[in-house]
Symmetry: C2
Subunit: 335 residues, 2 copies
């Protein structure tokens, strides 16, 4: 029997499920339609059924736990709290409901913290004790690891670097304030910067031939690669704002690596080269050359499931180490 953990990635549209072994290999996958479940109890019943169905087709697998990545998840309390993109309102004790229904150890955290755990257990950060992962998508998510542990903070919600104020009175943010990092340093931020530059500058650009709603970060990256000045300037400015966020994070926890993940990070050198250059310029001089900016080591399509499963695998691996220690030191018994 191979032990696996169910990595569950709850999104507004889809919930993806994967059985992940200790080496990060995914042995089976499943999917639920999240909005089909009006209440969290229904969802957990659906999840339980799906897990049984997936196990029925894999008699060599033993399910040892469930790790869940979800928006607005609180690791400490095992809850999802006031998630705007889910139908479940208020504070939902999802970990407890799932644990009771399935009898399996269940942990929950938000997507970016799951990404950090995935990076630590299965990705590029296996040997790194202090790092930050930035997920550059619609917004900017972040997972912070200090001395080998994800930072959850007093509330369980720590690591919201996307809502660092970087421009007072700047762009309107979904959180109701202005000038948050993610309004500049994200795929959406890049598009907003293009729109601003189209208004501000006079160069010709193929982007002027698109409807606003057709301008995506991918199209901007393609236009930049094809030599379009507006797209190049917008990408450079976005890199500068990512770097500002990095500089303001390095002075806080002095990480060894900052990993970039998500759509924008796929642009490769076009984003990493200017981010590295600006980060070195913008950070307090004492920290220059003390950190690296690197791509995530996880494949984009599997990262969410691997990261969610890592919630459990991290605990289990610590248990293993504890058990191995007890075997080597048989005099020391548990109370």
């Amino acid at each position: 029997m191979k032990e696996v953990v169910a990595g569950v990635d709850i999104g507004g549209t889809n919930t993806k499920i994967g059985f992940v072994d200790a080496e990060g290999v995914i042995h089976a996958e499943g999917r639920l339609s999240t909005p089909d479940y009006a209440f969290a109890d229904d969802f957990v019943a659906g999840l339980d059924e799906k897990l049984k169905e997936m196990l029925a087709g894999n008699h060599d697998l033993k399910l040892i736990g469930i790790g869940i990545g979800a928006p607005n998840a609180n690791y400490h309390k095992g809850t999802i709290e006031l998630a705007p993109n889910l139908r479940w309102k208020g504070i939902v004790p999802l970990a407890r409901i799932t644990d009771r229904k399935t009898g399996l150890r269940t942990r929950i955290t938000n997507d970016a913290n799951a990404a950090a755990l995935g990076e630590m257990i299965f990705g590029a950060a296996k040997e790194v004790r202090d790092f930050i992962i930035l997920t550059l998508g619609t917004g900017l998510g972040s997972g912070i690891v200090i001395d080998g542990e994800v930072v959850y903070g007093h509330t369980g919600f720590a690591g919201e670097l996307g809502h660092m104020t970087v421009v007072e009175g700047g762009r309107v943010c979904g959180c109701g304030r202005r000038g948050c990092l993610e309004t500049y340093a994200s795929a959406t931020g890049l598009v907003r910067t293009v729109l601003h530059m189209l208004s501000d500058r006079r160069e010709d650009s193929p982007l002027r031939e698109l409807k606003n709603s057709e301008i995506t970060s991918r199209r901007v990256a393609e236009a930049a690669a094809a030599g379009d000045i507006i797209a190049q300037k917008a990408l450079d400015e976005t890199a500068r704002m990512i770097a500002l966020g990095i500089a303001n994070s390095v002075i806080f926890s002095s990480p060894e690596v900052i990993y970039l993940f998500g759509g924008l990070a796929q642009a490769g050198d076009a984003i990493f080269t200017p981010v590295r250059k600006y980060a070195a310029e913008l950070v307090q001089p004492v920290f220059r050359d003390t950190f690296r900016v690197e791509p995530s080591g996880l494949p984009e399509a599997q990262a969410a499931i691997l990261g969610a499963s890592a919630l459990i695998w991290k605990e289990v691996k610590q248990d293993y180490r504890g058990r191995a220690y007890m075997q080597d030191h048989p005099d020391q018994e548990d109370e």
Copy 2:
């Protein structure tokens, strides 16, 4: 015999020494003139002599360790690195030199981390696992505690919140960049804000009768208390910038308390009331009402020595707990 730790606070002008017991009572004090010692070896010889002299007058005290707070100190390496205000150039392995000379366990960290440790062991944060202390003096120093441990980071230099960029292209900072938090949110920052307001506004003010070099944060606070508009506006703006630094820190590590320490914090309600108001406004809404802004629980004059000694007391108290545990569980022997 009462066990004490030597708390040593190295400043550019004076080095202050105090024998601190486990309850934070200071039993003897001494002082060295830091610039009298051209080399760190000489300084440590002088320190050793002073400690012996202090012990000679206190036969009931047993010295068990030395904790040092110093500028540009690296906790991991036990070094002072490139400190601009000290005569000792380059990278000085002060902890090792002191340990060898005295035979006593020696630890070193910077002033703000020492303040955090002092707050944790002897001050207002005894029961608080997640907090940040901001020391508002010439600059803005910070010590960050997450889950009961000071954050040193990969380099040992973490926690430089004074060098968070809050205004791009803003005020020139001593670090060579512009717009760092401490150029606004410190005693010096308050004075700079007054100078700016004297240029920008037209109100009469007794501060106009002073030479620039005579304007101090204390005088500004006094003028504000006496009803001067310029001083009040400057204090309010300084409080807003402190709050911005707090808001950008809360999204990072989600602390339970932010302690304010140092000259500016002495202004009491005149600073705490607006800082609390602005921090609630400026922080990401999810963190509103999740943190408190409080004064430090340590007396200003003793904080540096208490904090430095806490470097050792924290370790010793952990040892005690370990020993007590072993006494309660005699089956579990060390290897």
